[in-house]
């Protein structure tokens, strides 16, 4: 369980420009008449070094898409690759290691382990992999999210914004291939939320990270390089270089 060197199947193509790719992914709940298609034949790519937002109304399948891509949920059909690795082919143990080594997560709430300090929480995926990580990089991440003087605090001693910053730092610490953020600012006031989004933006621009964020807030989405819209389990459109106004317009067009 403390084996740091995980052997994954060789990447399909090292020069692949996509950090993650979904091909014809479907997620169907129930059978026959009561069948619900949460995802209906979705194909999408997330480019390396980019900040992508997934938007859509509730029930559009945006969280389900993220869960399937991150190996947190099983898809019914289709395939997902993360950094060239076929997720569907992995057993639980390797899937866990994939999440640990290749994916960073920021959730809406309850992101941190209450018994660990901020520093331990940031390094959690590395510690679980018995991996020292790149100390220089970790320091850089900590500096980027301004947590230098909060490292020895436990989550209960941190504000909501600080907790989310720790979560962002944790997602970055292991230099993952991709970071999935699920409504990371959903529980925060707008000022603090914007601060978190700026950090994520900085992580992409300055640290070269890849982030996919699920949100329903046009202002949050406008921090991204690209927005993918989902509706009724299908891709409904895309928007590049968005601004809040553009997002709102587009959403009106989609009949939202």
């Amino acid at each position: 369980m403390n084996n740091p060197s995980v052997t994954f199947p060789p990447p399909i193509a090292n020069s692949d420009s996509a950090a993650a790719r979904a091909t014809n992914v479907s997620k169907i709940y129930g059978h026959d008449d009561s069948e619900v298609r949460a995802l209906d034949n979705v194909s999408v790519e997330f480019e390396k070094g980019k900040f992508t937002a997934i938007m859509g109304p509730s029930g559009s399948g945006k969280s389900t898409l993220m869960h399937c891509m991150a190996g947190l949920d099983e898809m019914t059909n289709g395939s997902v690759t993360i950094d060239g690795i076929d997720v569907a082919s992995l057993k639980d143990k390797d899937l866990t290691k994939l999440r640990r080594d290749k994916i960073g997560f920021v959730f809406q709430a309850f992101n941190l382990v209450p018994t660990l300090t901020a520093d331990e929480n940031i390094r959690l995926p590395l510690l679980l992999g018995n991996n020292k990580g790149n100390e220089e990089w970790i320091q850089k991440v900590i500096n980027t999210v301004h947590l230098q003087d909060r490292l020895s605090h436990r989550p209960s001693e941190l504000s909501g914004g600080q907790q989310q910053r720790v979560a962002v730092a944790r997602a970055l610490a292991s230099e993952p291939a991709i970071i999935f953020a699920d409504e990371p600012t959903g529980n925060l006031d707008s000022t603090t939320g914007n601060e978190i989004l700026s950090f994520m933006r900085k992580a992409v621009d300055e640290l070269g990270q890849t982030i996919v964020m699920v949100t329903h807030d046009p202002v949050s989405a406008s921090y991204a390089d690209r927005i993918v819209f989902l509706k009724d389990g299908k891709i409904a459109g895309e928007l590049l270089e968005p601004t809040p106004e553009l997002v709102l317009d587009y959403m009106k067009q989609l009949g939202h």
Binding site: M1, K97, F107, N111, T115, L116, L124, P125, L128, N130
Partner: protein, 846 residues
């Protein structure tokens, strides 16, 4: 509120089962031991009502010596009384009876039956008689000095058939007989697992006891008189000078049953003490489970309060739940206990205490007791958590997660420290001469103080004990360490049952270690020889005195001497005398004679210990009047004073004292010193051959003998450990339940950890180490308390001759290892449950 409570219970069956588990175990032990005791009593009652079924009157001596530990020695009666009784009108038939120690030696040279703790081995009279206890099932009764009859069970286990040679050992030595018959005892093959060798009357008197004397007379009437009238008639016919009494068959049956009942009641009390300890430990677990479940239902209860339920109603709902749990748990516990009583028989068998088997007896009192006590303990344990549940503010309904109130009050710390201080003060007071009853009070204060302080010390102790886990297990160890410290109240409540169990085990081990080391010291000081022959027969029978004489004349042996014990009456009180052979004892067994010489010890003199001489202001030349078991009164002159009284006791006499009486005595040990220059190896095989000839006793080297003496406490220790094991099981279940509830409570956290890359193995590791740390907290604090408790007990026994206190290092280490293993085992199921947490549900529910 009833409906809400009941719905709440049925809605969470898993919780009902978990909560009930502690009640079930606690009450199962209670009913199990009660059923076991009742069954045992009934078995013996039945046995003895059969024995005297056809005996109408029973004649015996009225002269009895009551010694310590409930032992009695009844005087024998002259055999001529048989003819007197025979002449009484209304008497149809009589049988003279002798019952004494006799051991049947198997074909492999080893005695039949378990030595020491097993049922007794008897020699007796077997003859044709109307009210006979024995009936021949094969062959015939013995006639003449070379014939023997065995009970069916012994014949079967020894694989003896008619005409086989059978060696039997009795007080007068070992002898070979021809098996002429096999007999059964009433309807059973052997009474209560005892072995019997039956002889004709003359042989029984001469071989088992003394010629001319018998133990009692069994009388069968001709039916013309009632039993009472017959007994009166016989009584009148026997002259008063014989000092006899005549009982009816019903009276002797009742007396025997009562005697066994008294002996068994000690055992029953011992069992129930331990089952109450187990129940007490269980009440901690019940209390813990209700506390946790109240905390986890905080939001639910707060919601009830928010929509208008009163504090009382919320509390009542919890109490109703506890009533249901109590009833359900104790009912299941009662049934489980009946099964457990069978397991107890097996446990005793494993401790080489063989008991007759019989039908199961479930007394009504056991049923009522179990249900009522189970219910009371459950509701009482739920009382505080229920009150706390009622106090939940309605606003808590809006809170994110249910967190048990963990702040520790200053009051608790002060209260705990005060209790411990009071405990320490009472113990110090006792060492300064206050009454010893204060010791018990002090111990109680100490325990309650420690339990009160539990939540205060749990966190630092958990963090300390968790250090190695963190060091060796990385972040999973860190989390385990922090988890065990995160809720000190819960941790201390979980560790408390372990603590109590471990403290008791440690105290018992400390006591045993102290006794062992003392015995070791005493024997090392007093036993000056090279070899010893040991017997585990205690109180009944022993080594034939002729064994020591035979060995004494062996060419390799410089000296061999036997040490025995005799029960007599001094100043109308039963006392033990140590019997020695003054001619051979010197230089082999040292009693520390400071005045007089062994040559002065004759049939008319006695040695006393220095302590006795000081206490009674006696000196050499004073006399002591001793009444032997055959009512002979001897006036003995004090001819010597000795200092080593640990083995010899207050009085030591020559074995010649009883030469001319009907009293018999056995040696409890034979001590041997080899001639200088004799090689150990050759001597040992020769000595072994001599011992084998008797088929009795075990030849041991000096070291082996001392070890076996100091280790003799271990049998008792094993039994006590076995009984304390009940508490340990409950403690383990307590850990399992707490861990399960904690895992349930931390589902989101576990889901998050799984999401960011914790493997299932790592999840299990975390739970396992939390469990180990919790278990070790209980063990470490329990050992500290236990050593203290052991010291106090040893101190209290100072006057009984226990002078040195030893810390049981070996046991302590084993307890720590056990605690570790218990932690690992208790975590198996909860850890597995933790890996089954629904990952997605855990991270998506807001």
């Amino acid at each position: 509120m009833w409906r809400i409570a009941l719905k709440g219970i049925l809605g969470r069956k898993a919780r009902l089962v978990l909560t009930s588990l502690a009640v079930i175990l606690g009450t199962a032990f209670l009913s199990g031991t009660a059923v076991f005791s009742a069954t045992l009593n009934q078995t013996f009652d039945n046995l003895f009502s059969d024995v005297f079924r056809n005996v109408d009157s029973y004649v015996r001596s009225t002269q009895v010596i009551e010694a310590d530990f409930g032992q009695q020695e009844r005087q024998r009666i002259p055999v001529e009384l048989v003819d007197v009784v025979k002449q009484v009108p209304g008497v149809a038939d009589v049988q003279a009876d002798v019952q004494a120690f006799a051991r049947i030696i198997g074909k492999d040279g080893k005695p039949l039956g378990t030595e020491g703790n097993g049922p007794p081995t008897f020699g007796s009279v077997g003859q044709k008689f109307k009210g006979a206890l024995w009936s021949i099932s094969e062959g015939r009764f013995a006639a003449g000095p070379t014939e023997v009859v065995l009970d069916e069970a012994s014949a079967k286990t020894g694989k003896f058939v008619i005409n086989d040679k059978v060696k039997v050992v009795a007080q007068s030595g070992s002898r070979e007989f021809t098996l002429v018959g096999i007999a059964s005892y009433g309807d059973v093959r052997s009474p209560g697992g005892a072995t019997f060798a039956l002889f004709d009357l003359a042989t029984a008197q001469e071989f088992l006891a003394k010629p001319g004397f018998i133990d009692d007379i069994l009388v069968s009437g001709d039916g013309s008189l009632s039993d009472t009238e017959l007994a009166m008639a016989i009584n009148q016919a026997i002259p008063d000078t014989y000092k006899t009494e005549t009982l009816t068959g019903a009276e002797i049956t009742k007396e025997t049953q009562d005697q066994i009942g008294t002996a068994l009641s000690f055992f029953g009390i011992l069992l129930s003490v331990f089952s109450y300890i187990a129940l007490g430990v269980g009440s901690f677990v019940i209390y813990n489970v209700f506390s946790i479940s109240a905390a986890q239902r905080q939001r639910e209860n707060a919601l009830l309060r928010a929509i208008g339920a009163s504090k009382k109603q919320v509390t009542r709902a919890m109490l109703i739940e506890s009533v249901v749990v109590g009833l359900f748990g104790s009912t299941v516990g009662l049934i489980a206990g009946i099964g457990l009583s069978k397991a107890l028989s097996a446990l005793l068998k494993a401790a080489s205490i063989d008991l007759p088997s019989g039908g199961l007896v479930v007394p009504r009192s056991a049923i009522i007791n179990t249900i009522v006590i189970g219910l009371i303990v459950t509701v009482a344990s739920a009382w505080l958590p229920a009150r706390r549940a009622g106090k939940v503010p309605p606003l808590a309904a809006m809170r994110e997660t249910a967190i048990e109130f963990v702040a520790l009050s200053r009051r608790r710390t002060i209260f705990g420290l005060v209790l411990i201080a009071l405990g320490a003060a009472s113990i110090v007071a006792v060492t300064n001469g206050a009454s010893k009853t204060l010791l018990g009070v002090g111990i109680l204060f100490f325990f309650s103080g420690t339990i009160t302080l539990g939540p205060v010390i749990a966190r630092p102790v958990a963090l300390l004990l968790g250090k190695p886990a963190e060091k060796f297990r990385g972040v999973t160890g860190t989390m385990a360490r922090q988890n065990s410290a995160r809720n000190p109240k819960r941790t201390s409540r979980t560790a408390a049952p372990v603590l109590i169990g471990v403290a008791l085990v440690t105290a018992v081990a400390a006591l045993a270690a102290s006794i062992s080391s003392q015995i070791d010291g005493v024997f090392t000081q007093q036993f000056k020889g090279d070899y010893a022959i040991n017997t585990t027969a205690r109180g009944f029978g022993g080594l034939s005195p002729s064994l020591a004489d035979d060995i004494n004349v062996m060419p390799q042996v410089q000296r061999a001497t036997g040490i025995g014990r005799l029960t007599v009456k001094i100043d109308d009180k039963g006392q033990f005398l140590t019997t020695i052979n003054p001619a051979t004892v010197e230089g082999v067994f040292d009693i520390g004679l400071i005045s007089g010489s062994y040559a002065d010890l004759t049939a008319e003199t006695i040695f006393v210990s220095q302590k006795y001489a000081n206490n009674h202001a006696t000196k050499l030349g004073d006399t002591i009047q001793v009444t032997l078991a055959d009512a002979q009164i001897k006036t003995l002159k004090i001819a010597g004073i000795y200092t080593y009284d640990e083995i010899a006791g207050k009085y030591t006499v020559s074995r010649d004292l009883i030469k001319d009486s009907s009293v018999i005595s056995f040696d409890l040990g034979v001590f041997i010193k080899l001639k200088p220059g004799v090689s150990d190896k050759s001597a040992r095989s020769e000595l072994q051959a001599a011992v084998d000839k008797y088929g009795q006793g075990t030849l041991l080297s000096k070291r082996e003998y001392i070890d076996s003496q100091s280790g003799s406490i271990n049998t008792l220790l094993g039994l006590i450990y076995g009984l304390l094991f009940l508490s340990v099981i409950i403690a383990v279940v307590g850990i399992i339940i707490t861990l399960l509830l904690s895992v349930f409570e931390r589902q989101r956290e576990i889901g998050l950890l799984r999401a960011v890359g914790m493997t299932k193995g790592q999840v299990r590791t975390t739970v396992r180490w939390e469990s180990v740390i919790t278990s070790l907290i209980g063990a470490v604090v329990g050992i500290l308390l236990g050593v203290g408790l052991g010291w106090v007990i040893v101190y209290a026994l100072r006057d009984q001759g226990l002078s040195s206190f030893s810390v049981p290092i070996g046991s302590t280490v084993s307890i720590l290892i056990m605690a570790f293993i218990i932690g690992v085992l208790a975590a198996v199921y909860p850890a597995w449950r933790a890996t089954r947490v629904n990952l997605l549900a855990a991270i998506t529910t807001a």
